[in-house]
Amino acid sequence: MACCRLTAPWYLADIDVSRRFLFLIRHPLHDSIRGTEALDALLTVAAFEQPLTLVFLDEGVDQLIRHASSSPGSSLLELLRFYDVGSVWIERESAGSGIPDNHSHELPVTPIARADIPALIARHDRVWVV
């Protein structure tokens, strides 16, 4: 898959416009218009090389678990790896025992406790809940 990289012009080089983005994914991204919009936004943020964190929770964990059993090359995590997405978390309480194994071709997924989500939200400039 082609990966779009946008380079800032020289006169913007010294201006720090980076924002820390957090996406809380409560539903599978491909199951609704809102999810598709969020995926577009997510990839746009990644294309502009902004710090990006993803957290899968509630029904959103199905996205990870479903893709974990799919063939290599079709995984969302594999796609995100091409965009240098910083960190991917999965809420432990939502996943239960279904936390997917980390594969070498995908981004590593780290479990996070529900009690730690507020602190994670507070550490980001922009938060998008899907």
Binding site: L57, P118, V127
Partner: protein, 96 residues
Amino acid sequence: MTTVLHLVGGHHALGDCLNRVGSCDSILLMHKDLITQQNRARLTEASNAGLSLYLLDENMDTITPSEKDQGLCLQCVDYHGFVILTERHATTVTWP
């Protein structure tokens, strides 16, 4: 400490939000419909825990003193108050 304003729009979103809200955060309910009997207990619990709860009411002129509604400490804000709230919080999160 950074405070977060949570904008809650949907019935399911309220529960999801309350599960992940910080102890110093604020919640703005975008619709009166969200205050159901089922949600009232959880909102009261959140209010007692120290969270600030607001209800968007476009008919209100400004932020009013806390409204005691069957034990639920809820402040009504109009759109002007809505803007003030977003200015007072470092981060705004919308729960659709």
